[in-house]
């Protein structure tokens, strides 16, 4: 089973991620026990906390403990909210996922046609637009693009709602099915809420899309150009196949492979950009949870966030490999 073998290859990555997040909490300078004990703690109180938290034991023993907690889904407890980190992360995941997926759909939906048209007509105005977008897009700080969009569409044009979370104050969240407000409001048949949620979602997802579509459009254009210049396309054209069939079936299917590979890098960008975009738009997702915890020096949520994001990223890369395999039968997963 090639799929199983690919799953096994992901295991070392997961192990590495767990070891690094463990090291970030335990093996670094500074004594967490002093922090947890508070400023007025006596020497004895600190020693007790150190013992209670297991900091006085050897590093490998602590690691075994850490993994045991992880396997039970125990990521620790947030100091500021007093809630288990895992349940808080789970509660906030849909908000982040809805934002990121919308941004992904937007950026793929724009980048692919743009790159294809630019490759079909090199040197045309569309090609120049594509080049400007790809060069400028990667230079834009996401947080700055977000603020710029807020100024243009909320303050000046007045068409966008205030950048304050997933719903304005007049709407009530739809009943919880998937956690995605767009999906849930549709299931409930509540089109007013759907429109409100969509309005709130548009600017933050556009911000993320602007940043992530640049590498996608660039690689689509380059690989489409390479595919169109290759001999099998010449043969297909010479055999009298229609233009649409040559471009959409023959060239595109081959050109998509490097695009799928680039998606891995784009996901890395997006999971990072998520944090910044959520801060700008007060989006109640994973990123703003981690930022709030960082500001309060609340370590457990930050570590939980880093671990969750890394595991998510490993999974996304796994999915990319599987999609790649579906698109290109020549690729063997164990290679």
């Amino acid at each position: 089973m090639p799929v199983l073998r690919r799953l096994l290859i992901a295991l070392p990555s997961v192990m590495g991620v767990i070891v690094v997040t463990f090291l970030l909490t335990r093996a670094l300078p500074g004594d967490p026990a002093i922090y947890f004990a508070g400023p007025a703690a006596t020497q004895q109180a600190i020693a007790e906390i150190r013992h209670a938290m297991g900091f006085d034991r050897s590093l490998p023993a602590q690691f075994v403990d850490y993994v045991r907690h992880l396997s039970r889904g125990d990521l620790g407890t947030s100091l500021t909210t007093g809630q288990p980190v895992l349940s808080e992360l789970a509660a906030r995941l849909p908000a982040s996922a809805e934002l990121t997926l919308t941004a992904l759909v937007l950026s793929v939906g724009i980048a692919l046609p743009l790159g294809i048209v630019a490759a079909l007509r090199p040197g045309s105005p569309v090609d120049h637009v594509c080049r400007i977008i790809t060069t400028a897009g990667v230079s834009l700080p996401t947080f700055f693009t977000g603020l710029l969009l807020v100024y243009l569409f909320y303050y000046l044009a007045g068409v966008a709602p205030a950048p304050l979370g997933r719903l304005d104050t007049f709407s009530t969240p739809p009943p919880h099915y998937s956690g995605f407000y767009l999906v849930d409001s549709l299931i409930a048949g509540d089109f007013v809420t759907f429109r409100a949620a969509l309005g709130q979602l548009l600017l933050p997802s556009a911000t993320m899309a602007i940043f992530s579509l640049a590498p996608l459009a660039r690689i689509t254009r380059a690989s489409m150009l390479a595919a169109l210049g290759s001999e099998f396309i010449r043969t297909a054209r010479a055999s009298g196949l229609g233009r649409r069939r040559v471009v959409c079936v023959y060239a595109l299917r081959n050109a998509l492979l490097p695009v799928i590979t680039t998606l891995g890098m784009v996901f890395s960008f997006m999971l990072g950009a998520n944090v910044l975009v959520e801060k700008v738009f007060a989006w109640p997702g994973l990123g703003s949870y981690a930022v709030d915890a960082l500001i309060a020096s609340d370590y457990a949520p930050v570590q939980g966030f880093v671990l969750a994001m890394a595991l998510l990223y490993v999974m996304l890369n796994l999915m990319i490999d599987l999609i790649y395999c579906l698109l290109d039968p020549r690729v063997r997963l164990d290679a």
Partner: protein, 286 residues
């Protein structure tokens, strides 16, 4: 012989610059940023930290080119003074990532074996994280300071250098000039540093300028969410964060100017990177 190739390289570089005015403009812009970073604090019209609440949130004018922020500080002065800190963080981080990453890659690519496997595993582990998230985690773990921002940025850039130099060293490890150096009786370390390293240096230089832009973005992003540099220090990311609340009330200049300058700096390094690649690696010219 050596001066001949240098001369040829220079001529080639000038030719590429002449052919591509955008790269030339990017180099000019880079010089401007270098000048601002060096002499900025001596040039600015106002003290970047001096607040003047009577002049708070003034729109751009003749006396305040970029306007003033909520404490009445001159934004133009703050943006100029911040150049040194922002570029300093990025350059220090990239220098660190470049030296450590290139060395690790050389060791792995040239000697192979266990060292290669261990280094490869470390690099893979770093790459298993979304990079900005890893940087957040590192700064949270190591402590919230400018030095740790530099380390975090260096660590997330490390894999690029390690992978590139490993690949390039591996291609060349049995090349003719390496064999010749071996026959002349040079030690392996001497060959790796004296023959192999200079050979892969041009390719690495391209990567340096491409990652500098990314390093600036990363550092500014970290300070935007409140890590590393602390107010009232002038830094582009923090200044955008400070202006974020003013955006919704219409005072656009507080966030716009630091953001624009940050964007320009990143854009400049990306363009230089593309231009350098044209000079060093004509095959990949697009």
């Amino acid at each position: 012989m050596i001066s001949g190739t240098l001369d040829g390289n220079l001529r080639h570089a000038l030719y590429v610059l002449g052919e591509n005015p955008v790269t030339a403009a990017a180099f000019a812009l880079f010089l401007l940023f270098a000048l601002l970073a060096t002499f900025g604090p001596a040039l600015v019209p106002y003290d970047p930290l001096a607040s003047n609440t009577a002049q708070a949130l003034n729109a751009p004018s003749i006396s305040h080119w970029f306007g003033t922020d909520q404490l009445g500080r001159d934004i133009f002065s703050r943006v100029v003074v911040a150049t040194r800190l922002d570029l300093g963080i990025a350059i220090a981080a990239v220098a660190l990532a470049f030296s450590v990453g290139t060395l690790l890659g050389l060791i792995g690519g040239y000697w192979g074996g266990w060292a290669d496997r261990i280094i490869g595993r470390i690099v893979d582990t770093i790459m298993a994280f979304p990079l900005f998230v890893l940087a957040m985690g590192i700064v949270a773990g190591l402590g919230n300071s400018v030095a740790n921002i530099i380390y975090a940025t260096a660590i997330i850039n490390l894999p690029i250098y390690a992978r590139l130099s490993r690949a390039e060293a591996n291609i060349r490890c049995n090349a003719g000039f390496i064999e010749a150096a071996r026959l002349c009786g040079n030690g392996e370390v001497r060959i790796a540093l004296g023959q192999l390293f200079p050979n892969i240096l041009p390719l690495m230089a391209v990567q340096v300028s491409l990652t500098l832009g990314y390093a600036i973005l990363n550092a500014a992003g970290l300070s935007f969410i409140g890590l590393g540099v602390r107010p009232p220090t002038a830094e582009w990311g923090i200044m955008v964060a400070e202006g974020a609340s003013n955006i919704v009330s219409g005072e656009w200049w507080v966030a716009l100017f630091p953001g624009l300058v940050l964007m320009t700096a990143v854009f400049c390094f990306n363009l230089i990177g593309d231009g350098l690649r044209d000079i060093v690696d004509p095959v990949r010219r697009t």
